[in-house]
């Protein structure tokens, strides 16, 4: 189950009077017997049990294969998921009983498509169902290979990446291929152009234990990742999709066995090997053109990049895939912001309204889901806006390392209806968007400064006029 505040339809548990389950609605309509209602009510808690938000152990993944032997050849990956508390359901992609949801309720929290060549899913699953699954905030991993079908390619296209249209093209790299005695056509690539992001790849992507200075004096980061498969590119119009692992500048996508007649459609660093998408509803998607990336063979293989003297006993695949899957399944980088609070400086209660030029304290708590619990999130770039049509104040919050972010500022001398806005969009993190409305009023008439020295002449004039009036009225009345 995903972290608590994810978009997750829980209609059954929350609205017993309006069950969205079509069958129960129908039944209730036809026969409003006590028995029916009772059974519905009794059923509800049972169904909603699996949605316990703070227990990650019941996160259910559906894994679809072309061939069940993948279960064994990719077992390390699956075992690592299982050991992290996932409940995996392995099915053939053409299983006639496939379904992602039953009675409007999703049966799974994530979908892993390891079925590159499937032309048509079995059962109730189709392209639209997969996209609906993602649209409702669930996660997806797509692995294609050279046999990728149009169906898999169109799922990827909907997610914002385009696989090479040439069905026989593979990513070839004559410069940074993996040196293996029996692989001569340079389609087995040692890729190490990772995105710079701790949240996506984990903080210890630099394996500290094996951190070695190589002969060139560069810090060797992670061992390169073995990749064999097809290329894809990012859709330029979609800025939610990120290249996590790029090909080297010398790479290109072509058929290794036929002569190149026209320029390859994808070349160099614009080739993405592994991409991720974080949708606006925080659904996360990982797309790669290599199913072998996840295989035991690649996990266990040693790796030496062409032209590099360093030989790693183990490729970076296992760590890379494990870390990235942690991200995809919200074990990292999923934030929540709670307790947005503000008050006048020196007070503790939240006022209904501020006056211009008031000093105020603002605080919010931000936590990150670790897969098991909410841990304080520590960053120094969380900002708050005091916003009315445009931000009047934009301030970076300081934090106490325990998740509490705090700042104080003076209310601008403009009145109107303002908002406190926390907009936090960071690469790899779920976006936070909180706002709280608060009106700001001008000074009351009795709050202005009085007895100003500059106005003394006017005061004097007014009072002499009063005195003059008194004397005049007396003198005038009794003068004879």
């Amino acid at each position: 189950m995903s972290p608590p505040h994810r978009v997750n339809p829980q209609p059954l548990s929350l609205s017993p009077r309006q069950p969205k389950d079509p069958t129960t609605t129908k039944m209730a309509r036809i026969n409003f017997s006590v028995l029916t209602i009772l059974s519905v009510i009794l059923l509800l808690p049972v169904l909603s049990l699996s949605f316990s938000p703070d227990s990650p152990s019941d996160r259910r993944l559906l894994v679809l294969f072309d061939d069940l032997s993948l279960k064994s050849s990719h077992s390390i990956f699956f075992n690592s998921l299982k050991s992290r508390g996932f409940d995996l359901d392995f099915k053939l992609a053409d299983d006639p009983k496939l379904a992602l949801q039953r009675y409007g309720q999703y049966l799974y929290d994530g979908l892993i498509l390891f079925s590159p060549s499937i032309e048509r899913f079995g059962g109730a699953l189709d392209l639209a169902a997969v996209l609906d699954f993602v649209d409702s905030g669930h996660d997806l991993i797509i692995a294609a290979d050279s046999s990728a079908s149009d169906l898999i390619k169109s799922v990827a296209t909907e997610c914002g990446v385009d696989f090479d249209e040439d069905p026989s093209a593979l990513v070839i790299d004559h410069r940074s291929y993996a040196v293996v005695g029996t692989e001569g056509d340079h389609t087995l690539i040692a890729a190490d152009d990772f995105i710079e992001s701790d949240v996506l790849l984990g903080e210890n992507k630099i394996e500290l234990k094996v951190r070695v200075l190589n002969v060139y004096g560069f810090w060797i980061k992670q061992a390169p990742v073995l990749y064999k498969g097809i290329a894809h590119s990012l859709n330029a119009a979609n800025n939610l999709v990120l290249k996590v692992l790029s090909a080297s500048p010398a790479a290109y996508s072509a058929n290794p066995s036929s002569k190149l007649s026209s320029p390859p459609s994808l070349t160099g660093s614009s080739i993405s090997l592994v991409s991720v998408v974080q949708a606006r509803n925080n659904a996360r998607i990982m797309i790669t053109g290599s199913l072998d990336l996840f295989s035991n063979r690649f996990f266990r293989s040693s790796i030496q990049k062409a032209g590099s003297p360093k030989k790693y006993d183990k490729s970076g695949n296992e760590q890379f895939v494990a870390e990235l899957s942690k991200w995809v399944f919200h074990e990292r980088g999923h934030l929540k912001a709670v307790n947005l609070r503000h008050n006048k400086a020196g007070e503790t209660d939240e006022p209904a309204m501020y006056r211009i030029k008031d000093d105020l304290d603002f605080s919010v708590e931000i936590y990150e889901w670790s897969g098991k619990s909410w841990e304080p999130y520590v960053a120094n770039d969380v900002q708050v806006q005091f916003y009315m049509m445009s931000p009047y104040v934009l301030k970076t919050l300081s934090n106490d390392k325990k998740g509490l972010y705090h700042t104080s500022f003076k209310v601008p001398d403009v009145y109107g209806v303002f908002q406190f806005k926390v907009e936090y969009n960071r690469l790899g993190y779920t976006s936070l968007l909180l706002s709280k409305q608060i009106p700001v009023r001008p000074f009351k008439h009795n709050e202005y400064e009085r007895f100003i020295t500059a106005a003394f002449p006017y005061y004097g004039a007014s009072f002499t006029m009063m005195a003059g009036f008194f004397i005049f009225s007396f003198v005038y009345l009794y003068h004879k």
Binding site: Y448, Y459, A461, M465, G468, Y476
Partner: protein
């Protein structure tokens, strides 16, 4: 030519002055009162021109208090002037009562606005 003008002016001034001496003292008191108000107003305007309009409400009430006083006093003068036939049916006491009432209201407003 210039001499004639200045002498003419002198003659005019002189005749005005001699005519004014015949004005009743009570009216002169009013005139003095009006002059007092006008001068006070002028001084404030000069001050405002020197230091700027802040605080504007104080300036307004200060000046308007003078102007109001002057206007009310002029009204009183018109009403109590015996040579003014228009108000011959109006008792000067009644005019004075009006004057006092108006002044009291004026000062209330001024105080409220003075800040």
């Amino acid at each position: 030519m210039a001499r004639t003008t200045s002498s003419d002016a002198q003659a005019l001034f002189h005749s005005l002055r001699s005519a004014y001496t015949s004005t009743p003292t009570s009216l002169k008191i009013i005139d003095l009162y009006v002059c007092f108000a006008v001068f006070t107003a002028i001084i404030q305007v000069v001050y405002m021109a020197v230091v700027g309009s802040f605080p504007f409400n104080s300036f307004l009430s200060g000046v308007l208090s003078c102007v109001g006083t002057a206007v009310l006093a002029v009204c009183l003068r018109i009403q109590v002037n015996k040579e003014n036939k228009e108000f011959k049916d109006l008792a000067p006491e009644r005019a004075f009562a009006d004057f006092v009432l108006c002044n009291l209201v004026l000062h209330l407003v001024i105080m409220n606005f003075l800040g």
